[in-house]
């Protein structure tokens, strides 16, 4: 039933339900979307009014304008400007900030650290979450209790996860560090850059395994029982069924989680780095987000910080598109 006749025959609701804009702009705007059914994301039964939705949207759009659009656009503009640290003079410099950035060896080493960090974190998080998801999918008793405990890290701030592990692995007081030293391992994240990197990878994964786990458990539950059962009748054991059937069937979820883990590793781990290693020793854990903050707020190199912001924006956009692509595939994936 076409929506148009619906809405036209019903009495216009109070509050100007039937009001229409009369200027020619309206035709221009609605061209191409004129057919109500092809207009995406609009309910078939809807109201025709523009004053009420305007007031309903105003708070969100106003806040977005102030704290999202203006800052994002200014980040873009600042990337092409050079401002002295006191903000007294500003001049247009074209792509100079980017040229300077891409020539800086510190930036490339930060990019390298970020790459190692995000990949290590991704592999560790996803593989442990898979192992745990397989185990809790296999057992029959105690699932709920295990899940309750395994979900706890979600409640804990990344900064606290970092502080906690920084304590456990502190070479002077930490119990785990003492164990490592007892085994003859010369552990010191304050001096050794690989140890510091390992520390933030562990903290980031500790915090994020639960998120991966809950999605994997949900995905494993949606694998059709009939296929698993026929594989069982053909003589496949639990591990074989997992590797040959469940795992291929949940690949869309795996891709989705890989993207999410990259987003998490790139942007949300700032707190872990800042609360534990502060980018040290000697820049060994200075990931890209941390460097934006340092150049913007500590060394006050605003042009460079803005250029770095733009690079990160491009990364974030790319990952968002990747995420939506995989979500689409995930939704359409059925047997």
């Amino acid at each position: 039933m076409p929506a148009r006749s619906d809405t036209a025959t019903l009495p216009a609701a109070a509050g100007g339900g039937g009001l229409r804009l009369r200027w020619p702009l309206r035709r221009l705007l609605l061209k191409g979307t004129g057919d109500a059914q092809s207009e995406s994301g609009l309910k078939r039964a809807h109201f025709r009014d523009w004053r009420l939705p305007f007031w309903l949207l105003a708070p969100q759009l106003f806040i977005l304008l102030l704290f999202f659009f203006i800052p994002s656009i200014r980040a873009l503009i600042q990337a092409f400007q050079l401002t002295d640290p006191f903000g007294a003079t500003t001049q247009w410099v074209g792509f100079q900030n980017f040229e300077r950035l891409f020539r800086s060896s510190v930036y490339w080493s930060s990019a390298q650290v970020t790459l190692i960090f995000t990949i290590a974190q991704n592999v560790l998080t996803l593989s442990l979450a898979l192992l745990l998801a397989f185990a809790s999918n296999h057992i029959l008793r105690g699932r709920g209790a295990y899940r309750t405990v395994l979900l706890l890290p979600y409640a804990i701030a990344p900064a606290i996860a970092g502080i906690m592990l920084a304590f456990l692995f502190n070479p002077r007081v930490g119990p785990v560090a003492h164990m490592l030293q007892g085994l003859g391992f010369d552990w010191d994240p304050n001096r050794n850059s690989w140890h510091a990197l390992a520390l933030i990878v562990m903290a980031a994964s500790w915090k994020h395994i639960c998120y991966n786990y809950i999605f994997l458990v949900a995905a494993l539950l949606s694998v059709p029982q009939s296929i698993l059962e026929s594989a069982y009748l053909d003589g496949a054991g639990p591990i074989q069924r997992f590797l040959r059937i469940s795992l291929p069937m949940i690949t869309p979820t795996l891709f989705f989680l890989i993207v999410i883990n990259f987003v998490y590793g790139l942007f949300e781990t700032f707190a872990i780095v800042d609360a534990t290693t502060r980018g040290g020793p000697a820049g060994a854990t200075s990931i890209l987000v941390y460097k934006v903050y340092q150049d913007g707020f500590v060394t006050l190199d605003l042009g460079s910080s803005a250029a770095q912001s733009v690079v990160l924006m491009a990364l974030a956009l790319f990952l968002t598109f990747a995420q939506f692509r995989f979500v689409e595939r995930r939704v359409n994936y059925s047997v």
Binding site: T33, R44, F68, Q78
Partner: protein
């Protein structure tokens, strides 16, 4: 399937127990360390059993490090973000799904775009916007040559609104409500209109009650997110009394040149993670739903 796999069953339980231990041991050590005295934490090896100083340490943390105030700040910020974001999002989602008006798709895309850039990638200009909300008017004023606009200054640094408002500026919740509204049967709206309900009555009496479970699930996620904020409070609070608890922890981190007070830090860390942990323990069913929904 009537399969007997005792070895794999055992291995699975072992994996899960080890996973649970990996989660619980660090938390347990936070509690243990938070209950020891200064001399006890310096002993090698450190005690694996709780000491008797938990309450004494807690008192020190609450009074000397001002954690009472910081925890209150965390609560205000988290509640503000939760309530503000839910309120703003649910009405915006109602507008874009239930109304036909010019610029509808434009409004939707404007909101949708904010999903793409997390606050971390635009921290400097976002800070500048919060340090002076009137900044766009200043720029406008200098273009038009109106001195009154140039002189406007509205600083949100060290205020609750500064800590809350910029974090509401993201569309995750709007997007979720939109997805949910699209699954609500059209007949409800048609029936409401035949009965003469105004759009606002339909929203308040039908749509909101239907969304209750989504609102609760999302509220939990948003509360945890708000409680655990780090970067934004770090930038926006120069006054120690306006920081949240997580930032307060950073200030308690032992510095190399002073006596390491790990017991106080761990005590404060325990206090800070207690409220969100209780939230997900008590409201777990809702929380899992919210988590899986918001990831979609």
């Amino acid at each position: 399937m009537n399969e007997r796999t005792p070895i794999i069953d055992f291995a699975c339980h072992l994996i899960l127990v080890m996973g649970a231990a990996l989660v619980c041991l660090p938390i347990y050590f936070v509690f243990v360390t938070g209950s020891l005295s200064q001399t006890e934490i310096m002993r090698v090896p450190m005690s694996w059993l709780p000491g008797s100083q938990f309450l004494a340490n807690m008192q020190t943390v609450l009074s000397n490090a001002n954690f009472g105030r910081l925890l209150l700040n965390s609560f205000i910020i988290a509640s503000g973000i939760t309530i503000g974001k839910l309120a703003v999002s649910v009405i915006a989602a109602f507008a874009v799904t239930y109304f036909r008006f010019p610029f509808r798709m434009t409004a939707f895309w404007l909101i949708f775009m904010s999903l793409m850039l997390p606050i971390e990638v635009r921290i400097v200009p976002t800070y500048e916007s919060a340090a002076n909300v009137a900044l766009p008017l200043n720029i406008l004023g200098s273009w038009l040559g109106i001195q009154a606009l140039v002189d406007l200054d509205w600083n949100l640094v060290n205020t609750y609104s500064g800590l809350i408002l910029p974090l509401i500026a993201s569309a995750t919740a709007t997007f979720l409500f939109r997805q949910f509204f699209l699954t609500v049967p059209d007949e409800l709206c048609e029936a409401a209109r035949i009965d003469g309900a105004t759009p606002w009555q339909f929203f308040r009496l039908i749509l909101l009650p239907l969304s209750r479970s989504n609102i609760v699930a999302l509220a939990i996620i948003l509360f945890l997110m708000g409680w655990n904020q780090y970067l934004w409070p770090l930038l926006l609070t120069t006054e120690p009394a306006m920081a949240n608890a997580v930032i307060g922890l950073k200030k308690l981190m032992p510095q190399s040149d002073s006596l390491p007070t790990w017991h106080l830090l761990m005590n404060a860390a325990f206090l800070t993670m207690l409220p969100p942990t209780l939230v997900i323990l008590i409201l777990q069913r809702w929380f899992v739903k919210g988590l899986v929904d918001s990831g979609k």
